[in-house]
Amino acid sequence: MTPTPTPARAAARTAAPVPHRAATTLLTLVVPLAVMVATVALALAWRDRLPDPVASHWGPDGVDGASSFAGLLSIVPLLGLPAAVLAWWFAFAAGRSALSRRTAAAVALWTSTFTCALTVVTLSAQLDVDHWSQARDLDGGLALTFAVPVVVALLGAWATPGDGPAPAASPVPDTAPRLPLPDGGQAAWLRRVDWVHPGVIVALVVGFSAFMGAVTRSWWFPVTVGVFLLAVLLGLSGWTVTVDARGLVAKARLPRPRLVVPLDEVEHAEVVTVHPLREFGGWGLRVGLGGRVGVVVRSGEAIEVTRTGGRRVVVTVDDAATAAALLNTLAARARG
């Protein structure tokens, strides 16, 4: 028996600092804070031109609720600050994978710009009116309130530094499962995994949009939201998982985002059992609290890849044992 190297390897792995902490701080903390401060400053500058109290709620028949100026403005720090701080803390402490950092940036930026856009649009609709009940309709502003945060969040995810190449230095451990391969032959393992049947998604989104249309008595807004939801949900619900000479790839119907682990960054792969809600807070392309990232579309069997740089990648898929064994075999063979 040789002494087990596990504790030393684990220590070496966790000793590597989480990368790109400066960029993380900029995108999850500095930019959201700047947006919030600017919004509060703008609101204060507008204060003399606003009614008191201010209009704060719009129904199908126009404005129908009011609140104090301070109460309305307070949603900016109340929603934006905790989101930014939590996202920053998560990416700072556990952002070893680019997907974790991108998600944190997107969450912090979306939440802060959404609350700020909502506040600015709400206040601008009642500039220079005498009483809150005279506030103008929000139509165009409401569209901006939904579009701008999505665009800003996507920009933030795009601007987040990715993972550079990080080839593994150590061989694939002998204990990792393998499978027999013909000498010099290609091998591939492919499998599809679906979150729910596409028909269910279409039915739910159409139902939701129809309900929203009935409540708001408008059509453009429910249709826009419905099309957006359909594109995102259909685009990211069905995944094709591939293990081959390139490594592990999970891609959805949309070309991006996708999950790629290059073969030379695979330390080893194994089969695990995943509980999406408990471990990842939901289903889809997820980041887990421990910094694990993955495609988690159902509970049960999954392949978990330990990647260089202390990263771990999970994909829920049937027949994960074959996928893990093939990935280990290909990685070992490529490393000579």
């Binding site: 499978l179 013909p182 290609q186 599809r192 074959t322």
Partner: protein
Amino acid sequence: MLIRLDPSAPEPIYAQIAAQVRSAAARGELEPGERLPAARDLAESLQVNLHTVLRAYQELRDAGLIELRRGRGAVVAAGAARDLAPLADAVQALASTARRLGVPPETTLALVKEALR
């Protein structure tokens, strides 16, 4: 679905792909209605020509194992639902017996072909 190509085997690549899809179905790993990987994806993964994979899929379609549908790709046919697990088990047993007795694969195959006539 696992596909392994053996460059030293006498069968052409498309036949190797078709044979492995067939045995995966026989082992019950592919269920009726299940979608096979898109031919383009499989060709990319195996680093072979797209037409090689399409030829394998066409052969499987001619054998009634899969259906090729426009827009949905290759789907495992309902007729493929026959439970061939007992046969897969018997083949496994045959293979291990042959190994234990040290009978070379060619001889075993010859015996099987003889028995199937």
